[in-house]
Each structure stands twice: as C-alpha cells, then as structure tokens.
C-alpha cells in the first residue's frame, strides 16, 4: 500500500476541501455544497483557464474564474521592443487568429505615424484577416462540438483549417506565427496564383462551413443543449464590455468593421449577423453566418485587387511621433484594441491591449450560475476564449 493509511473516500473529499460547511451538529442530515475545481488542466477549459465551481448536486451555485496561468507580461515586453518586433509578440496573443492581431498593431502605429499603406497591401491584409477569421471560427465549431460530446465535427473542420493554413504558409512562410504585416504594408507581395488559390479555397471553405452547419445545427440534441442556455441581455452585455459574436448574439449590432471602418472595409459590402436571444445557440449561429460573410468579403477583396506596391515608404525601424493612439479591429473573438503611448522613440512608452476574450470571460459567472455543470462547459465554449489573449 502507499503509506498514507486507509483514508476513506468520504474523509478524503472533506479533507481536500476548505470551504465546505458541514451540517451543524444536531440538525437533520442535510446536504453540503461541493466545490469542483475545473482546470487549469481540464479538457474543456480551452487552455490553462481554471474555474472553481460551487455546486449543489449538478447545479452550479457559484463560479469563480481564475486566470493568469499564461501571463507572460506581453505588454511590458512590448515596451522594450522595436515596433517591428512587437508584431511577433502580437502573433502570440490570440494564437488562432494571428493576422487579425498583427493588423491591430500595424493599424495603430500607422495611425500614429499618419502612414497610408498601399491599396494592394490593405487588400492583402483584409483577405488574410478574413481567412483567419474563418479558420478561427472553424476551430470554434469543432471545439464547441467536443465540449458537447460530438467528436466528429472538429476533424472535418481541421481538414478545412489546414487548407487555410497552407495558403497562409505560402503567403507568409509560416503556418501560425506569421509576422507578415509591417508598419506601412506587408512583408512581401503574394504569388501570382494567389487569387486563383484563394478563390478555390473560398469554395472549399463554403462547403466546410456548410458541413459544420449541417452536422451540428440541425441536430435536435445540439439545439436542445444550446437554445436558451446562458442568456445575457444586450444591456448586460454592454455593461460587461463584451464584444464580437458574444455581444452581437445579444442583439447589439456592434462590429468595428462597420462602426469605425478601418483599412478598406468601408468599400466592401457585407452583412453582420445579429442574434436576438443572447443564448448559446445565437452565439454559435452568429459565428456560422459570420464565416459565410467573410467568404463574401474575401471574394470582393480579390476582385478589387490590382497590381502595385505592397509597402509604403517608411523607415525600416518605425519611429512614430510622440502621442497616444487607440486603434481597434474586429477580431474573430471581438473588439481587439491597442492603446499605444509613444514618446517619440523607437519603442512604445506604454502599450496596452484591449483583449476581447478577457472582457468576454468576465461575464462567465453571470452566464453560468443557475445552470448545470454541463452547461458551464457549453457556455465557456461559446465565449470562445483564447488564453494567450486573456492572460497576455
């Protein structure tokens, strides 16, 4: 035996917990609330997120989220790097939608420096970001299905996501941490056959999104698990500072691409899916429709592309003027912003990221309390957090 003596299961459970209050002596044998610790190593927490659940049987009475297991001090690191080096740090924030992160940073620095990237570079950026949005959403459908016990969709989605990443690799040289956008443009022009490849990929992705749609959203169990679960009203969502699909599912039509159009989004026509119920189903389905809109954006952007420069004339080492700027873009997870205070040097004086996952995660407790443990997992899934961005 193992030398710890024979501790019974019941005593073990009590000994492991600090906060359970035993029934008072002399009273009827009652029930005690149980603390369940989910994470940081739990298959459904999408990384190193930890939540402490206080449950009564299967019912969640309270939830305390704990983050910070992936805190790397990115913002502090940024203060010590050249602007061109920060791009690589931004790749590692939301590591499933790297291009979107890079775009925020270069937009902010360009705004600070009043630099206009050439039109071709802007279109390449838009195409890359929208592909990245689709790839990120594909990953969401799959992992969300896994949270709910359906293990098949994720493999179909990875099939399609691989194709997107193959395109990314051919354009930027890397599958994930691209470091492709530059202040004033992009690193290099795309290949001659890029437009044809991208259009083929659009068709593939359209089928891929349809696959996910058919696999999941017609399924009665799936609908039953998501519909009416984790409802948040539009007012509450705004109050919490939610953004992206989570906010739009609650009926607030806030999309940075139309609210404060950046890059060349003003020229493109697209729809913004907006829910009305604010439940898990809406958060899921908004993302399905959003991926379809992104395919439309890519097709329009490819049609607009003309040969030309891909890099504006800027210093190799950017030296923006003194000032402060807030720029933000619509990330797959929401409104990713960056606030840069520049003192006129080659490195930012202060850089602060507005992380959408971080804000969305705040609402988790309100969304979850009163539901079942299984719903907690589903609700966390629909918030679609990436811990690299939550913790930074």
């Amino acid at each position: 035996m193992n030398g710890f003596g024979n501790v019974s299961g019941a005593r073990g459970l009590t000994a492991l917990s600090g906060s359970e209050s035993p029934p008072s002596p002399g009273s009827e044998p009652g029930t005690v609330d149980m603390m369940v610790n989910m994470g940081p190593q739990h298959p459904a927490t999408h990384g190193v997120f930890r939540m402490e659940l206080r449950v009564d049987g299967e019912r969640v009475l309270d939830l305390v989220p704990h983050i910070g297991y992936l805190h790397r001090g990115s913002e502090k690191l940024c203060e010590h790097e050249l602007y061109s080096q920060i791009i690589t740090l931004f790749d590692r924030l939301d590591y499933v939608s790297n291009f979107n992160n890079e775009l925020v940073l270069v937009t902010a620095v360009e705004k600070l420096m009043s630099v206009e990237p050439p039109p071709r570079a802007e279109l390449i950026r838009i195409i890359m970001c929208e592909f990245n949005r689709i790839a990120s959403h594909l990953l969401f459908y799959g992992t969300f299905a896994i949270d709910m016990g359906a293990m098949t969709p994720v493999l179909y989605n990875f099939r399609d996501r691989e194709k997107v990443q193959a395109l990314f690799e051919s354009v930027s040289g890397a599958r994930m941490m691209h470091n492709y956008f530059r202040v004033g443009g992009v690193k290099q022009d795309v290949d001659a056959d890029f437009a044809a490849r991208a259009l083929t990929l659009c068709d593939d992705l359209e089928r891929g999104v349809d696959d996910s749609d058919r696999l999941l959203s017609e399924n009665a169990i799936f609908i039953e698990r998501t519909s009416g679960i984790g409802v948040i009203s539009g007012e509450a969502a705004l109050d919490w500072g939610l953004s992206g699909p989570v906010l739009r599912a609650s009926g607030v039509p806030y999309d940075v691409r139309v609210e404060e159009p950046y890059s060349r989004y003003a020229e493109l026509d697209f729809g913004v899916p907006v829910g009305s119920a604010g439940d898990c189903w809406d958060r899921f389905y908004v993302r399905i429709l959003e991926a379809r809109e992104s395919i439309g954006i890519i097709r329009q952007a490819i049609a607009l592309m003309e040969p030309g420069e891909t890099m504006a004339r800027v210093r190799q080492i950017a030296r923006p003027p003194a000032g402060e700027v807030y720029a933000h873009c619509e990330n797959p997870r929401g409104d990713l912003g960056v606030y840069i205070v520049s003192d006129g040097g080659e490195r930012p004086y202060r850089l602060k990221v507005r992380p959408p996952s971080f804000c969305n995660l705040q609402a988790l407790r309100d969304l979850t309390v009163g539901h079942y443990i299984a719903d907690a997992v589903v609700i966390l899934g629909t918030l679609d957090i990436v811990l690299g961005e939550v913790d930074r």
């Binding site: 299961g9 000994a15 709910m148 016990g149 389905y285």
Partner: protein, 416 residues
Amino acid sequence: MSAVDVLIAFAGLLGLFTGLAVAVLSLTWMERKTLARIQQRAGPSVVGPHGLLQPVADAMKLATKEDIIPAYADQLLFWAAPLFVVVPAFLIWVAIPFGDGLSVRVLDLGLLYLVAISGIGVVGLLMGGWASSSRYSMLGGLRAAAQLVSYEIPLVVVILSIAVLVQSLSLDAVIGGNTITVGENTRELQGQGSIPFAFVMPLGFVIFFIAGLAELGRTPFDIHHAESEVVGGPFVEYSGAHWAVFFLGEYLNTFVISALIVILFFGGWSWPSPPESVFGTGLSDATTNLLGGAWFLFKTYIVVAVIFWIRGTYPRLRIDQLMSFAWQVLVPLSFANLVLIAAVLFYDWPLWVMTLLSLPILFGAAFGVQRRRGVRGRPRTVRVLRKSAGEIGRPVFSGGKPGPGGVITTPSQAGD
C-alpha cells in the same frame, strides 16, 4: 454433478473468457476504425496489417503500466470496483445462447438472470467514483447511478414484454418459441424463426435500443464519463491494469447489449433461417452450431457497428434531459408496450395487430418528443444585417450641431 460436468463447465468458461477477451480486443480495433472512417482519418494502421495488432499493443501497454492509487482513495473499494463492473459483464455471457441450446449454462430463468446480473455493474461504477476521492469521480459515479437505475426500468419492462410474448423466461424459448399447456388447452407460441420480435413490437425494440445505449453510457448518453465535463467520471483516477479492467467491462457490456438486441429482437442464430434450412440437415451438430454461432456473432457485430456509428454522430445530452427522457417518455412507453402485448395475447389477436398498434404509438411519441421539447428545427433568432441595405453601421454625420448638454443630433441606429 459429476466431475466430468464440472470439467466441461470449466472448459466452457475458459473458452468463453478467451473468446470474449478476443472479442473485446476486436471491438476496440473496430471502434477506432469505424470512428476514423466516419471522421476521415485512417485510424490505427501502423501495428500489424490495418493496425490489427494495435489492440494487442494497447493491452500490453496497459498491463505493464504503473497502477497508481491516489493517496486519499479508499483502497479496498478502489481495488474492488473494477471487478464489480467486469465480473457481471462476464457472467451475463454464461446464459447467452450462441446456437440451439449452445450456451455455457442453459438457464430456464435466463431473462431473469440477465436482468439480475446486469444491475450489479452500477455498483462498481458508484464504488469507483466514491473510492477515488475525486470530485469528478464522485459526480461521475452518482451520474452513473442515477442514469443506470433509471434506464434499467424501461429495459426490464421491455424484457418482461418479451417474456409475456413467449410465456417463458428462457432465452432458448425467446428464439425458438414455446409451447404451453393451461388445463386442457395447448398453445403454440411463435419464436423468431420466421418473424423477429423487432417487427412484432417495434416500440419495444426502439425502447430497448435507446435504454440499452443509456445502460452502456455510450453517446448520446455518455454523461457519466463525459470527458469535457467530468473528465472520465468514475475512471478518472484509475490507471494501468485497473483501468484496463474497467475498460474491459465497458466493452463487454457493449457486446452484451448488442447480443441481447440480436437475441431478443432479431432472432439470434435462427432468423432469417436457421443453418439447417440453408445447409440441409446433413451437417453434424457441431457444424450447425458453429454456423449458427457465427451468424449470431455477425449480427451482433452489426449492432455494435451501429452503436459506434451513433457515437461518431451525436453530441451528448445533459443529465436533466437524460433523466426526464427516461422517466417521462421511456418508462410510460415501455409499460404501454407491456399492456399492448398482454392485450393482444389475451384476446388471441394475431401478432401483426401488435405491430399495427405499436407503430402509431412509436411515431406519435417521436413526434411528441420533438414538439414538447420545443425542438422545431433550428431556432430562427439570428438575422444578418446588411451594410448595403443600411441596416447597420454608423450614420453619416449630417453636420448637426451639438445641442444642449452635448446632444449631437444624428439619427442613432445602433444600440439595443
């Protein structure tokens, strides 16, 4: 009982155990291959041809892996729990007929024996869940207890309906039919040689299949070892050989439920035609039994494949949905099935009346489940606001002047 009988019984058990161990290995391979094909993967393909030796490699790995017992575990229960799962799963096979009278022990009360033994498995899960001294295990164990006890009822009532139909608790009678004598009257009760019971009582078959899936804890009822919630439930603290024994029990149970479906509803070895009528009566008994057994196993594997197919397709139910489905839908329906079959036999109606009566109930229930639970296709709550249609986006600033208190006179569209 002579020494020879004991020896024969012992040899039978040994053969059964070996056969079942091989069957479980084949099932693990089959599950991985089936799922892989559904998911556009190759599945096991490195160890042996088509990965056929993968289960053997896995078994060796599990047997040699360190067997960790958590410090806070209740050691006795922790050790014993896997046995409570695997031994009943194995014992059930003692009564299963592979051919005409071909089982390790022909039991006149075979159906009763099945029901009695299969109820023990839940104790093992509960013990494992409790003894592991982990919250996940405990939740999983309690989930298992609630789920298995609830679904036991429709399962047993359907088995009871079968017993009523053949007026016997013997598994051989379920397949081969029965003759009963009440006073002066002798009555021939049909077995499944010509019409399997799945067609006689489709309602019972569907209930049995669903409840069987739930008894196994397989998708969509795998809530007690839901990986994304309770991370494996009662098994979460188990490793090495102990875990392997649990695993063995799970697959044996899968095999048992499939075999029961074949025996109770698809005529076991006999339907659509027993070996004698295909190959003539010239064959030796041993060959006939072998052919019957092979046919029976083949059908069982088909049912297993369907179970794997469901696993690759469906998400998981939540515990309250699972329980309400058992108590509000399956239990009443199973009793309806029992009453129907009793009425049909009492009034001596032909058996197709049972089919006719069952089908409307079955479809009505399916329709009712869809309606009552508010699932009428996907919710239509999301709409796309088009930019070109002016449904979304900030309004163009119309040059309005700031009013009192800084009110800027632009038509506001956004907001909620």
